[in-house]
Each structure stands twice: as structure tokens, then as C-alpha cells.
Amino acid sequence: MSVLLYMIPLALLLGLCGLAAFIWSLKSGQYEDMEGAARRILLDDDEEPPHNTDQSENKAP
């Protein structure tokens, strides 16, 4: 049974990582435009590279 002492905290840690990732994605505004996100995958974004390359950074709203 002593294996539980490692496994449970380990499992919780993994779960917490997932939760942290979710909170980050929420704060960085990734759920603000679900409809647009679904359509943006259809865009050919290579056609015209943006002049300003630092756009990829996520800005907190």
C-alpha cells in the first residue's frame, strides 16, 4: 500500500498541471472567440506574412 504515498501525489500533480494549463488558456483569452477559432483554421495564413512578427505572443486582455 505504501506505493499510494507516491502515486496519489504524483497523480494529483499531473492533474494540477492540467488545471494550470487550463487557467492559463482561459486568462490568455483563448475562449473568447470560439466561433472565430473554428473558422480560422480554414485560413491560409502563409499567403501574406504579417509585417510584425511579435504578434504571436499572447497578450493578456
Binding site: L4, F22, L26, Y31, E48, P50, H51
Partner: protein, 715 residues
């Protein structure tokens, strides 16, 4: 517009007309080409475009112009407090949902171990450890995510009444408190898993419900921005001054250019022009105005600049009257009580009474100690889980709106389907709703005449000219000296001959007085030395209008035609469509009165309309629909917006609404049936934590599975 310290500017505007991925790219890449723009992003769900740039603030005008040049409408956006609030609310719900989901997953992991064995096999110490770990996860999660329910329950109790959140909060608090007590005393009845699962399922329902209703909330803010803007006021010294519409007062003189909307009601003191009054009257043909004519705020000046004297300030204008009517209508609608709320009202007292009976029954009569009696009472509260009730409506709603969306039908308010399912009368507007709202050429004409007419017509933006030019395909004739005469027609010269296109008396009065008058729309073409040619145009009905009306009648919905257009035209269309009740020549307040009359007779009314003149009726009807070609205000006032040239979405929405409503009722029945089994078990004290958890998720899954039938059944 905002500016931060580092010289970074940020502008947020509402963009209309963006309908697909291509639009996103067109707008964003156009703005990204500007050297000083650092970010341009269009939020597709809220239609908001935010632009960030460095340097000159006045550049904002250039950006707006650039987007307009792409063919999209741009409205100033006032970042209203209400909208901000609803966005934070959604984020908060999602965050709570995420935390609850995490807690549920991890507690389940431990609970499976607990359910699979008992104290003898795993040892008391191990079981206590697992209970403590569960408590460690559950208590903070409930304290965090449970706020959604605690807050609203607290507010309701302060106001002296109860709502669905009261039993939920009570169950959550009692379950976690009692479980903690049991954990302290090395007990067996630990319900952390059930409590967190209850919370998770309820939050799922809450979030779905919120998303379904979110769009409805944005109406008021959009409406206000329609009324804001600027007017060009003519000063005494002849110069023009730009002032906000709100500060335009009676007696001022305002200059309105061709292509602009009139900011206020007034009468013309200089110039003559054509005015598109479709916004206010629903009339499809532009009206001639000259010195002394009245014009109304919101209508559009089409052909020549006008100077008007303000008769009524913006807040007293006809447009403002319409807005006020709409507000009045909106208040009337707020009385509607949704099915889920009605169920909750019934549910709360029943459950609380049962739990109370269980506690006192076992304690005083059954002879148990008070802890065990309380445990049974809590089990009753948990197992009569409102999960199924909380999920019954939102799941169906989200599935139905997804299905409608595929058919080009946009559901704007959460309970629209529920209201739609009960209608027994459908009011149709004529122009733009039953008909396409744009005139089309009718009949066959000599090719030379058509070519000549189209060649002149291509120089004008008048709707009839546009219809004529659009009908003709082929080379245009080179014309000279083309002039547009407001209210009359066009004149030009071709190979030395005078050519005219326009009204009957502009082209044909002398040569051809005997030709019988046509009641509909007509255009005349005269070429010097030739007999004038008449072109007949008409506003065509949508191709499936008649069959939709027949199918509605078959479903027990009575169609009624309600229009601001001339009565004889309205009656003719009604006869053609097989509609027995028709009202023509009605102003917006009269339309509203007719609606009130029907409602007073006990009819549940569906309104379908597209103009500003329909907006109050759209807002006041039990449920309303607008085509995608409707003006923004009508779309805002409507509960459902449908795309395309067909009318069949009206019928499709109705049948999906009725189908989903029957599913919702089945879901409630399932939830009740489940409780009939679960409650006696809980009252009898037979329920262990495992059974509580299984029964609860079982009922929730059953409801979800039943809702999914909406996806598979055909119409």
C-alpha cells in the same frame, strides 16, 4: 478609443457583414498592411474588431475607412459596462467549471479505490488517508466553484424568496460539512465525490445555459449605438459644424449629403432628392422630397444634398418613439417564466420537506441518533440531485441551436425555442420578409430597348435602375451627357438623340397618354422619335413562401400579413399567398396595437419582419424572427435570424422547436421517474456513497443521451 502610456493606441469597433473565415482574413490582413498597426484582430463571435497601433491617434479614421472600403459596415463601439460584465461572468463560470472538473476527476480516482474495497481489506488507516485526501481536494474546490450557487442563493434568501440555488447550496454545504465530520470520526459515509460531481454537472448546465443566452444580452448596447453619431449643423455664417446628434436642437439647420442618414426628424428647406424610407415605413420604393417635405431620422438621403430644419430633436424623433415602443415591449416579455424555472419552483419545497421529514422521522420516531438521521436527510438532498433538472433544458438547447446553425438559422435568445414551440399565429411583414425586398424586372422586352435602358440605368444607384441594370447581361452603349434628375429620372444623349429613363410623366406623357396605368412599379424609356417603352418591375415573393405558409397552417399556426405598404398591394399579395387575414398601410404604432390585440385574445404570436417599422412588433411578440437581410435593429430585436433567400427556415425552426420541447419534457419526466426510485431508497437509509454517485451520474447521462436524439431524428 484608449491610449496607454507607451503611445500604444487601441480602437474597438463593431463590424457588420463579416460572415465567414475569408472576411476575417480580408479585414485583418488589410489592416496588417498598414505600417504602424501592431495588432488587428476580429472577434468573430462578438463582431468586434480591435486595432492597436503606435503613434498618431488620428489614424483611426484611416483604419475605419479602409475596412469600409472592403465593403463592411463599421459602427462605433462603446465598451459598455454591461457587456464587460457578461464577459467576466462567462470567464468566471468557465474557471469554476475547470476547477470543479479537476476536483471531480481526482476524487473519482480515489473513490474508485474506496468503492472497490471496504475497511477490512484496505485497513482503516488507508481509508482515512483517502478520505482526507478527498477532503483536501473537495473543500477548496467547493469553496471556489460553489460560489456560483452560494451567491445567487444568498441573494434570493436576502430577498425573502428561494430559487433552485438554495437547495443546491444547502446540499453542497451539508454534504461537505457532514463528510468532514465523518472523516474526523473514521466514519464510512463520506460524500465528497457525490458533492463535487453534483457541482460539476450543475456547472456544465449553467455554462451551456449562459452561452445560449449570451447573444440576447448584447441587444441593448447595439441599439444605442445606432442612435449615436454626428450631424452637420449649418451655422449662421454658412459654415458647417459637426456636433453629436444628441445636442442637435429644434430649429437648427442640418445639411445631409447624398448617401447619409437623416440624424433627426425635420422638413426640407433647400434642395430636392430621393429618400429611402424603408427603415421607417417598410416601403420599398424611394420617396421624392422637395422643399417643405417631412423627413424622418434614420431614413437615408439617396441622390442630392439637402438642408433640413430640425422639427424634433433626436430624443423626440420617430426613431426614438420606436425605440421607446421596443423598450415597452421588452418589459412585457420579461414576464415569461421558463419551464425550467417553473420546475424549480415546484422542486425546491418538495425536496426540502422530504429531507426535513427524513431527519425528524428517523431521529424522533425511528430512534436513531441525530448524526445518523442527519446523514439520511443529506443523502435525500444529494440523491434527489437537481443535475438532471439542471441539464434537461440547456443540453437540448445547445444541440438544437447547433442543428439550426447548420441550416443558416441563428438562435439569439436562450428560451426562444421554448417560446416558439407554443405559437399559434404568425405575423408576416411583406416587403423583405414574404418578398425578397428588391424589385426585379418582369416580362420580356425588345433587346434593343433593354440594352438602351440598362445602359442609362447603370449610371444610377436608384433601386429600380439597379434592378434593370442587373437584369441585363451584355455590352452597354456608350452614352453622353448623362444626368440624374432627382424624382424624375435620367437623361442622356446617344448618337445625337435625346434618351430618357424614368417616371411615366418624365418620358411618356405627351406621346402616349392612353396606355393603361400599371398599379405596381414601372420605368419608362423614351428615345427621341420612337414610341416609349414601359418596363414593369415587381418585388418577387420568396420562392417557397406559399408552401411555407401552407405547412404552417397544417401545423395549426395561422398566418397574418401586416405591412406598412399600400393596402391594395398587401391584399393582393395575401390572396396570392393564401393568407386570409391581412392589414395594409399600418404605421409602426398601429402595427404594435394590432399585435397587442392578438395577444389580448390569448394568441401566442410569432412575428417575422425585417424593417425598423417592424422592430417594436418583433420586440413585443412572444417570439420573433428576422431574415439576415434585415436592418441591424430588426435583427437585434428578433430572437431568431435566418440567412438566405428562402422562407423555409421559419417552418424548420418551428418543427425543431416543437421537437426539442418534447425532448425537454421527456427529460423532466426521466428526472422525475429517477427520483421516484431514488427517494424511497434514500429515505429508507439504504443508500451508500457508491449508490449515490452512480445514481446521480446515471440520471445525468440518461438525460444527456435522450437529448442527443435531437441530432439523429429527422424532421
Amino acid at each position: 478609443m484608449q491610449q496607454d502610456k507607451e503611445g500604444q493606441n487601441r480602437l474597438t469597433v463593431l463590424v457588420s457583414g463579416a460572415t465567414c473565415a475569408g472576411c476575417i482574413q480580408k479585414i485583418e490582413s488589410r489592416l496588417a498592411r498598414e505600417p504602424d498597426v501592431s495588432e488587428a484582430r476580429l472577434n468573430f463571435s462578438t463582431r468586434r474588431l480591435s486595432i492597436e497601433w503606435r503613434g498618431n491617434t488620428a489614424r483611426s479614421n484611416d483604419f475605419v475607412k479602409a475596412v469600409k472600403a472592403l465593403g463592411y459596415g463599421v459602427l462605433p463601439f462603446d465598451a459598455g459596462a454591461a457587456r464587460q460584465e457578461s464577459e467576466n461572468e462567462e470567464k468566471f463560470l468557465l474557471l469554476c467549471l475547470g476547477v470543479a472538473g479537476f476536483a471531480m476527476g481526482n476524487i473519482m480516482m480515489i473513490s474508485v479505490g474506496l468503492w472497490a474495497s471496504d475497511a477490512e481489506t484496505m485497513g482503516l488507516a488507508t481509508r482515512d488517508l483517502m478520505h482526507w485526501i478527498s477532503a483536501l481536494i473537495a473543500l477548496p474546490a467547493i469553496a471556489f466553484s460553489g460560489r456560483v450557487f452560494f451567491r445567487s442563493a444568498f441573494k434570493a434568501l436576502l430577498g425573502g424568496h428561494t430559487n433552485m440555488d438554495v437547495p443546491i447550496s444547502l446540499a453542497l454545504l451539508l454534504a461537505s460539512g457532514m463528510s468532514l465530520f465523518e472523516t474526523f470520526h473514521h466514519g464510512e459515509h463520506v460524500y465528497f465525490d457525490s458533492a463535487v460531481m453534483l457541482m460539476f454537472f450543475l456547472l456544465v448546465g449553467r455554462y451551456l445555459d449562459f452561452r445560449a443566452r449570451k447573444n440576447a444580452r448584447s441587444t441593448a448596447t447595439d441599439l444605442l449605438s445606432t442612435l449615436s453619431g454626428f450631424a452637420n449643423v449649418l451655422q449662421d455664417d454658412g459654415s458647417l459644424k459637426t456636433v453629436p446628434i444628441r445636442s442637435v436642437a429644434e430649429g437648427m439647420r442640418v445639411r445631409v449629403n447624398a448617401g447619409d442618414k437623416f440624424p433627426v426628424d425635420g422638413h426640407v428647406i433647400e434642395g430636392s432628392s430621393l429618400v429611402d424610407t424603408s427603415l421607417v415605413t417598410g416601403e420599398s420604393l424611394p420617396r421624392d422630397v422637395e422643399k417643405g417635405s417631412d423627413v424622418y431620422a434614420g431614413t437615408m438621403n439617396l441622390s442630392a444634398p439637402l438642408t433640413i430644419e430640425v422639427a424634433k430633436a433626436a430624443e423626440d424623433s420617430l426613431l426614438a418613439d420606436i425605440v421607446r415602443l421596443m423598450e415597452k415591449a421588452g418589459q412585457g416579455q420579461a414576464q415569461y417564466v421558463r419551464l425550467a424555472d417553473r420546475a424549480a419552483r415546484l422542486y425546491t419545497p418538495v425536496v426540502h420537506t422530504l429531507a426535513g421529514l427524513a431527519f425528524f422521522g428517523w431521529w424522533l420516531i425511528g430512534g436513531l441518533d441525530w448524526q445518523s438521521a442527519l446523514m439520511i436527510a443529506i443523502t435525500v438532498l444529494i440523491i434527489t440531485c437537481p443535475c438532471a433538472l439542471g441539464l434537461a433544458v440547456p443540453v437540448v438547447q445547445v444541440l438544437a441551436s447547433g442543428r439550426l446553425m447548420k441550416g443558416g438559422i441563428l438562435l439569439k435568445s436562450g428560451d426562444a425555442l421554448e417560446r416558439l414551440s407554443g405559437v399559434d399565429m404568425a405575423l408576416f411583414d411583406k416587403t423583405g420578409t414574404l418578398t425578397l425586398g428588391r424589385p426585379q424586372l418582369e416580362g420580356i422586352y425588345p433587346p434593343e430597348a433593354l440594352q438602351m435602358a440598362a445602359s442609362i440605368a447603370s449610371h444610377s444607384t436608384h433601386p429600380l435602375s439597379k434592378a434593370l441594370a442587373a437584369h441585363y447581361e451584355g455590352p452597354l452603349l456608350p452614352l453622353e451627357d448623362v444626368h440624374e434628375h432627382p424624382g424624375q429620372g435620367l437623361s442622356a444623349a446617344y448618337e445625337g438623340k435625346a434618351v430618357r429613363l424614368g417616371r411615366r410623366d418624365w418620358c411618356a406623357s405627351e406621346q402616349n397618354p392612353d396606355d393603361p396605368a400599371h398599379s405596381g412599379l414601372e420605368l419608362w424609356l423614351s428615345v427621341e422619335g420612337q414610341r416609349p417603352q414601359r418596363f414593369i418591375l415587381s418585388d418577387q415573393p420568396r420562392e417557397d413562401a406559399r408552401s411555407v405558409i401552407e405547412r404552417l397552417q397544417a401545423q395549426g399556426v395561422e398566418p397574418v400579413l401586416l405591412s406598412g405598404d399600400r393596402d391594395e398591394i398587401v391584399q393582393a399579395v395575401a390572396k396570392n399567398m393564401g393568407i386570409s387575414q391581412a392589414y395594409g398601410g399600418k404605421t409602426p404604432p398601429e402595427k404594435f396595437e394590432i399585435l397587442e390585440g392578438f395577444k389580448a385574445q390569448g394568441h401566442k404570436v410569432l412575428m417575422i419582419g425585417d424593417g425598423l417599422n417592424d422592430a417594436p412588433v418583433l420586440a413585443g411578440a412572444d417570439v420573433s424572427m428576422a431574415p439576415g437581410s434585415a436592418i441591424d435593429m430588426a435583427q437585434n430585436a428578433a430572437d431568431i435570424v435566418f440567412m438566405g433567400d428562402r422562407l423555409s427556415p421559419v417552418y424548420e425552426s418551428l418543427s425543431i422547436a416543437r421537437h426539442s420541447q418534447s425532448l425537454v419534457k421527456q427529460n423532466f419526466a426521466l428526472a422525475v421517474a429517477y427520483n421516484m426510485v431514488a427517494i424511497p431508497l434514500a429515505l429508507g437509509g439504504f443508500v451508500t456513497p457508491l449508490i449515490a454517485a452512480l445514481a446521480m451520474s446515471g440520471s445525468s447521462l440518461l438525460v444527456i443521451a435522450n437529448s442527443f436524439r435531437l441530432k439523429w431524428t429527422s424532421l
